[in-house]
Symmetry: C2
Subunit: 205 residues, 2 copies
């Protein structure tokens, strides 16, 4: 693609570094910036730089944070005896937005994947085991993706955690709420009937 | 959506201002920046700011440019007797990438649209007519989108230009009706400028 201005070419090149953004999308984004207010563009650029200079990772759980301890770990309303293990901080945002979880988190930083050369030592597993050993933890919830890497990691963690006499659970797998039964894949449908739950007619849950 | 860090919230808010970028995409882009090298992030932010401080618009044709005259208008290889009328500079990039056009351009800055309150006086039409009057122009090619606004604008321009005794043509309708110029593939767009046809203001075609 040829550009009438090297400045524009540079911006398109920079914006197309984003995942899922091609040259055409980057050009559309550049057009938007060209028509945008100079102050607003400067604000966007500043916020991007601040992302690298102002954010850090929570010393306890690995969640992204503005302070050495994240907002979940410092909250007085969270149950510290319940730890949910996730792959990265994006999963924490998803779980927090459900409003259904009151415990704390532990970010693994990845999943065990021998194909990609990621072993247990590359993740924050020893830090998790240390937390479980040193604090009074009742239950660890494994909230990892239902694929090969997620299942491998869950299995590995469950074995390690059981040795520490802590209850280990995993988030339920099944048909999505509102999902059509006939569109579900066989493995998901199979798991959802294996792990069926008692049906409740009252709403006292 | 709740965020674990106000810095992240600010970046997501800023990035979701881009057209076609929602909160989830913005979060994915933010994740990418968080994992990116600090130097690279700074380079991206700087390029965005430079876009507003370093670019200007060509005094002759309205194309985006690093100098008072754009690279097309200052090129010795371009035919100044042939002017292609486009909506915005993004269309110039698309046409330049076909490699099929050797004339110069004129950016209208929009299309006539009574619904949006855009009339002929809001566009650079008088500047175009001045160029045609003052220079030796053989032909004006109308390269506007094949939709209501584009057709209205083409019709208006053709009437005005015919009064100046200049040949008026339009890019071939190889482009799907209702299609945006910037989304067309290069071959279709290249052919459509090669096979431009005389523009008719009467309906005896």
């Amino acid at each position: 693609m040829k550009f009438p201005s090297s400045t524009i070419e540079k911006v398109v090149e920079q914006l197309s570094r984003f995942p899922g953004v091609g040259k055409k999308s980057a050009l559309r984004m550049t057009m938007f910036l060209l028509n945008d207010d100079e102050e607003d563009v400067k604000r966007m650029a500043d916020s991007i730089v601040e992302l690298k200079t102002k954010t850090t990772f929570c010393e306890t759980c690995g969640n992204v944070s503005d302070a050495p301890q994240c907002s979940v770990c410092t909250s007085v309303n969270r149950n510290r005896n319940l730890i949910c293990v996730v792959r990265d901080f994006q999963d924490i945002i998803s779980l927090e937005n459900t409003g259904q979880y009151s415990g704390v988190y532990h970010v693994l930083g990845g999943l065990i994947s021998p194909m990609d050369g990621v072993g247990p030592d590359d993740l924050t597993i020893s830090a998790l085991l240390k937390r479980v050993k040193e604090q009074e933890v009742d239950e660890v919830v494994l909230a990892l993706s239902a694929n090969m890497e997620g299942d491998t990691t869950s299995f590995y963690l469950a074995r390690k955690l059981e040795a520490l006499n802590v209850r280990v659970s995993a988030i339920a797998r099944g048909i999505a709420v509102g999902g059509e039964l006939s569109y579900a894949d066989e493995i998901t449908l199979g798991r959802s009937i294996q792990h069926r739950t008692p049906y409740k007619t009252s709403f006292d849950r």
